[in-house]
Symmetry: D3
Subunit: 243 residues, 6 copies
């Protein structure tokens, strides 16, 4: 694995000549309750991306640390890029990778709001002949069902809960303040998903679910499971594209 935080251009040049793929974490600066830091999604995406880059001997890129967190903007500290800016950022990076001879890009996304701009950037890059695999913590739902003690606040909805808190305890325990962890199971309005709605309309603490049963061990297992499934998909993808 190469990491832009330590690799030089000579290292990358040598790896490209042997065939290299890049791994790009995409996160967010978004409220995550009282017990998790604003940068949670970026920390998690970066941690999972590192695991993936190690597994596929890829080039780990620095995270796009900001995402589209419009739904959480009523909580202080949340900062968003517009979807157009996110799309442009990923497209610019992808073009640069293609230009320098990297074989493909894997995005590791840690924030729901980034999915569509990532997909659109991937489509544009793919149409220009550059393969992009966009991963959103594959198999997370199954892993969470298997490993968590608490229920999620909604199907596939993990935010500042046992899932994310466990992963943070595994990756950046010094930034988790479990003493502040408290559950909130908001009632989702019937119009949720059918009109633009900020989450503060029905949630107070920023927590969705119950973070209290979180442990580093669970987090490690989640990350390991996600990384394993990611690497399996990467195997299919590299084979398909002859990378």
């Amino acid at each position: 694995m190469l990491d832009t935080a330590s690799a030089s251009w000579e290292d990358v040049s040598a790896a490209i000549s042997k065939g290299l793929i890049a791994v790009l974490p995409v996160g967010a600066v978004e409220q995550h309750g009282a017990h998790l830091p604003l940068l949670t999604d970026t920390v998690l995406a970066s941690g999972v991306a590192r695991r993936i880059a190690e597994g596929c001997d890829g080039l780990l890129l620095p995270a796009i640390a900001y995402g589209d967190a419009w739904t959480a903007e009523d909580w202080a500290g949340t900062l968003s890029l517009s979807p157009d800016t996110i799309r442009a950022t990923i497209t610019d990076i992808g073009r640069g990778l293609q230009r320098m001879g990297v074989k493909g890009l894997i995005t590791v996304n840690g924030h729901f709001g980034n999915r569509e701009p990532i997909n659109l950037a991937a489509r544009a890059l793919s149409e220009a002949g550059f393969p992009v695999l966009h991963l959103d913590y594959p198999r997370l739902e199954a892993l969470a069902a298997e490993l968590m003690e608490s229920e999620p606040a909604g199907p596939g909805f993990y935010h500042a809960d046992e899932v994310e808190t466990s992963m943070m305890l595994a990756l950046a325990p010094e930034t988790v303040r479990m003493e502040r962890a408290a559950p909130e199971y908001p009632e989702f309005p019937e119009l949720f998903g059918a009109e633009p709605m900020k989450l503060s309309a029905f949630n107070r603490s920023g927590v969705f679910g119950d973070p209290r049963p979180a442990t580093a061990q669970k987090g490690e297992e989640l990350i390991g499971g996600i990384a394993a499934e990611s690497l399996r998909l990467i195997g299919l993808w590299t084979k398909k594209h002859g990378i």
Copy 2:
């Protein structure tokens, strides 16, 4: 100081009610010779920004890790955002800060190519009533003249040289491979600056100057000097804008 890597929304909310400014590092993924990592400019800008945020009790934001490194694109590993993307990114972040009640933004730029897009974003934000101070390592030229043993490759041109290597030795010594450090003093073509020109047209190694005399101690002094001057300017700026 608050850091999005550790602060929660409640922390930021409390700080905003007392008056808060944000500090945003802007870096690059760019070749820095054989002995420094691609992420050098981002690491340096983040390190200096942290020092500044500590000094002014600000909110340290995660770095924009990519910059406009068009001139270095011929070296593997260099990745650029277009100037428009950088401008949009900073404008989006500034608007978010203004919306949440932060009093102003300080950008800490570690890469020459980012200057103009930062300035344009600052102008737009400023016209919308949000103060932006854009710092480019103030007083670096004087500090370098005073502290360095080697000559710069050109006036105010510090790239993978004694200056940057010293700062990296102070901030991320484990990523510096001094055994690979070698000088290169390229001859700048007369047309340099008068037409679009990639640096690979007249430089081979990616080093501009002589990194060999670099030490962590010098780096620490450079960073301290830059931070001190930055804080002095911030004092003028907050006073002027009544922050």
Copy 3:
């Protein structure tokens, strides 16, 4: 109900003075197998929208007849607007409605690929103070499970199958050629959804599922069920926004 195909400006003017909402169908020009016309999604969205406009005494707008059908572009006759064009179209229409004093907009979307551009337009309009309810055939999944004889090709994936064919038999039977209807249950590749992929990569006929058991009666029940649920949501929405 007012329909732009028959109402004059005086009719709309009078209705606005009493409080009016608009209903906008959004469809697609996209292959729908050998037995359904290219315009299927537009016909369906328009038919459902008419039922909804009748139910809420709204202003039925003409359909945006083109959508983002990128995934089906390999079949002849499929035509796409870019997501940006769709977003701009809906934003322009919404601004016009707001300007003239209409109280809100309900989009009735008949094509998966339009969801995200509709959502982004809705967000922009909503931030400008204009309520938008974006409906995607609410409760269709439950209705299909209850009313259909065949299995869908995938969860929530209804394309040229018993669901869509039944609805077309209810709304435009003269355009349905049941003699050509044939099933295809493609195997979805594991990478589906994880990279940009055209559906022709794993489907030949353009049918996903089995259209043969389709009947107009089933179609009528589907449409009735969708319209009823839509009207229930509209009731919540108008109440919430004081429309």
Copy 4:
């Protein structure tokens, strides 16, 4: 003739292999006095386009139902797309046609305000090697002079008058309320055409001219004449481009 409202992808695929051109109506949602519906221009453009598609055995596309009706925005019910959105819509559609192997595009425009965005889209498509013929009811002025009893409100200015009302009586008589038809011959200000000016500045009813002598027979003759001249031009155009 193929119509997207009834043709399947297989039909279009077969026709493309033999050489196919597409016909695209472009209309508007715009006030047309008390006796004609808002959708008049779209209905007319669609009706004429159908006649043309029949005559040239083309592929009839669904209308772009919205146009640039800025000058009529003061009347309720008028809805505009910006010129940029119209241009983008036509460009997207043209690119899709070119990609799938259609030989050229004929636009049939029913609204003055759409002319320039259509022309600009046509220019872009044409520069990319895709022929576009943009028709604006050719020979209408001569036909109107020959067939109408009333005078137009201005040279070449037909809006909710005998011309348009006759054509609507021919195409959609059930939407025409002749009992409300009343003449208005506004005085055009001298500054009309020399500054941005909404028509409500000098017209009250939305009618320009006298719709009362309108008959379906006249409408049929107008449509027939326009279609005949259109087909003559199409003959020249297909010959010129070797279609």
Copy 5:
């Protein structure tokens, strides 16, 4: 009259306090046959604009010297701005005038291809509360019919002919080479105006009509007549807007 070529900011400041309008010529760099320079349209628009600025005591702005001359691009020396660039240029200038307190803008356009982008800029500025009068040599057709000896190549089509050559003889005689003046009356294809078509498709010399009877005296009378009619319209316009 004030002219930016001689007036200082103090002069403009004083005039603004008494009420000032600005006059902006818009021209083109476009072939004008063998006997007229490429800059003809800009010279003419500037000359007419000067006459108008004198007549209304306005602020004469420097010309936008480039226009949209796409149709003439096959002749060497022709240079175009895209319509979007022209629109942006005029919008930027208008916003600046509005900001500084100028009461309105008069555009004096000398090139057909600029009309639509000027109109769109005027619309945007007007919607923002800034009056714009866009003049295209008003009454030129009547004046030409009255004063010229030769026939125009088409109705209202004056290009490198007796009209433009006379005006150039009046304004910049040193740049006219009458010895090279030769007539060309091309046959306009029937598809002209119905598809994107460059003029070189049916014209060789770049002249449309017969420049040989041109005289400075005629040019002076044309310019005087255009200016007089312009000032009459300006009188209506300033009165209407209370300027």
Copy 6:
């Protein structure tokens, strides 16, 4: 030398066949104190560009008369194009030159604020294979130090001072009102250059320095020196690019 103000398309066509470069002045409409006209920068850039075009037998283009003068907007008469508009203008012109077979473009910039948009346009054109040399009065600083009697207001900062006034006395003496010339040596705030700041924040008259010692003779020498250095650079540039 060819000048679009006098050359016909035939002249340009003949020159292109022998190899031609174009020279484009870029100026500004900006306050220049009480004694110089608003158009100073455009007049100067045009004058220098003419000298350069003569020296290299180039095609002199008409000036882009407007620049980005945001910092001077508080003085009446100053008008700005946005940086994006300037960039688009130059890019459009460059593309046109490339299309017609001109070998390269030399921009002669007379206004600081235009540098970055010119550079970005040059980069885009250069990436598309069209060489651009962007000159900003090369060697001016050395010439000023040698020839001027007064000190500049800041290093490399020449605005309405002895330098610009001398050049105007050489190029357009009839527009210079020396009787109004008065010095102002403002104190530059420490934050100048570190935040968006209009010059009116610390300057009253619009003059930076002392225009009183200006003479036409000095202006002539400055222009001659700039032109000579420009031609030297052009020699290097044409040789490098095989022009």
